[in-house]
Amino acid sequence: MIILGIESTAHTFGVGIASDKPPYILANTYARYVPEKGGIHPREASRFMAANAPRVLSSALRQAGVSIGDLDAIAVALGPGLGPCLRTGATIARALAAYYGKPLIPVNHIIAHIEIGRLATGLRDPLVLFVSGGNTMILASAKGRYRVFGETLDISLGNLLDTFAREVGIAPPYVVKGRHQVDICAERGERLLDLPYIVKGQDVSFSGLLTAAIRALRAGGKLEDVCLTLREIAYSSVVEAAERGLAHTRKSSIMLVGGVAASPPLRDKVRMMAEERGDVRVGLTPPEYSGDNGAMIAWTGLLYYRHGVTIDVEKAFIRQRWRPEEADTPWLEED
């Protein structure tokens, strides 16, 4: 069984190819849109995707050594995400499915992050800390679905880091050699400032921290100290929320996924938390699968296809606000 998957929810147009036999992932290629200034402009991002799609698609097929005829089905991330970007991916997937007569499989982007993480880390039933530019969520399986145990009440962790870095003029580029500018700057920080640390139940909130950090800088605080404080508060609060999730769900492992999962200080904090709790296994998703990628859509598409889940091309609408707990996950019931 061979499935091709398309990811286009935000800044990445990714194509992956998955097989039901080892090594499972046959190809994982992408083109990433980086705005010259400001945040993501959805329309610009979608134009970038349309322009790069043919190249990314053919390089995935080449990488996997298969032709479109060999594919069993096409999977596509229909949400959640930015409308124009989702529409580009969906249009391409629908066209491929219709033209080549292949079944189409709808995939929820967040579920896909979790499933590729499970494949890569080998963890069976972890608590999931999903941190990216668009999302910050704590999830775990319960009663056959992935349920949300905590999330941000305003902006995401990735958004906090990017916006701060941009506002204070240390980005773009946001990430250099796998490290975020805020992480790099924080290493030279010496003093912890008094900025708000907000955890509400299992939820976190970052917009107050963002404003306070910018205000502290304008009031004459040292950039390095502000970065250090921002990093410490932001990462500690998601790790605390995750620890609460572990206590609440009684899961015995934790998995870190999403673009921000690549951050070394965040990884260290997750490891330290797990170590202190004792008997908690840690799964760190490798970089090629932690950010947005096509392989995760292909792999999750494969899980659906095994359960006979497909969608009519005419009914494959995008869902910008698709919640993970609204998505069926038939394979969870059996394990």
């Binding site: 409308g83 949300v148 941000t152 509400k200 500690s236 202190e276 606000r321």
Partner: protein, 229 residues
């Protein structure tokens, strides 16, 4: 931290809880443990602050007729609080086994308690079913006030209720809606039906946030960065 005559009863996410006798009373010792993953300064600040917050809120609750354990001793620098022991089971543990009338009665009662608490200007901050004790005689007692705050804002009340609703949805999804309805009725009995309706509306709004929606994200960010300055 082992002291004479204390037995560990719970290892939570942030605290260790021991059972013992304090001044002749059946007591719970709650000690907030240091976290290595937090910067030591930040860690000390958070533990002392939450210990103090919890003690103040427990006293506040007592004054306002909101069922909560009485405070016996507070040591903010030690991150230790000693309170009255409440005999019973956690709401979260019995929820699987209640339904129908009994479920309605429980959540109506909870709604009344939370409505009264909010009317008194107290926000719980971690209102999950693991922080509510059901006593043998069927009363409800609120615990774990470390994340509480003083506020009358609709926003803060709404988040309290959102946290409760999500804890229901993630553990007993099939009963959540039913329980929530009774909760809101009880809340309305204390705070007034129109406030309960405003809260319900606020909760709906809160649930639209933090979701990956371009327009929302852009506009909320701009508000944060430029207008509210």
């Amino acid at each position: 931290m082992v002291r004479g005559g204390l037995t560990l009863i719970h290892m939570g996410a942030e605290a260790k809880l021991y059972r013992g006798i304090y001044a002749g009373v059946e007591a719970v010792y709650k000690y907030r443990v240091p976290k290595k993953y937090r910067h030591p300064q930040l860690d000390a600040r958070i533990r002392a602050y939450r210990t103090l917050r919890e003690a103040r809120a427990l006293m506040d609750a007592g004054i306002n007729g909101i069922p909560a354990p009485a405070v016996l001793l507070v040591e903010p620098e030690e991150a230790l609080i000693v309170m009255e022991h409440v005999e019973g089971r956690l709401l979260g543990e019995i929820l699987e086994h209640v339904s129908g009338r009994r479920l309605e009665a429980l959540f109506r009662m909870l709604g009344r308690i939370v409505g009264r608490m909010h009317e008194a200007g107290l926000i719980h901050g971690d209102l999950t079913t693991s922080n509510i004790i059901v006593t043998k005689d069927g009363r409800l007692v609120l615990i774990d006030f470390g994340l509480s705050s003083k506020s009358r804002r609709l926003e803060d009340r709404g988040i309290d209720v959102h946290v409760l609703l999500r804890s229901l949805e993630s553990t007993v999804p099939e009963a959540a809606e039913h329980a929530y309805k009774s909760f809101l009725e009880g809340y309305g009995e204390e705070a007034g039906a129109s406030i309960a309706e405003e809260i319900a509306e606020k909760v709906r709004e809160i649930r639209m946030r933090g979701r990956y929606v371009a327009e929302r994200r852009q506009s909320s960010l701009e508000a944060v960065l430029h207008n509210r300055e």
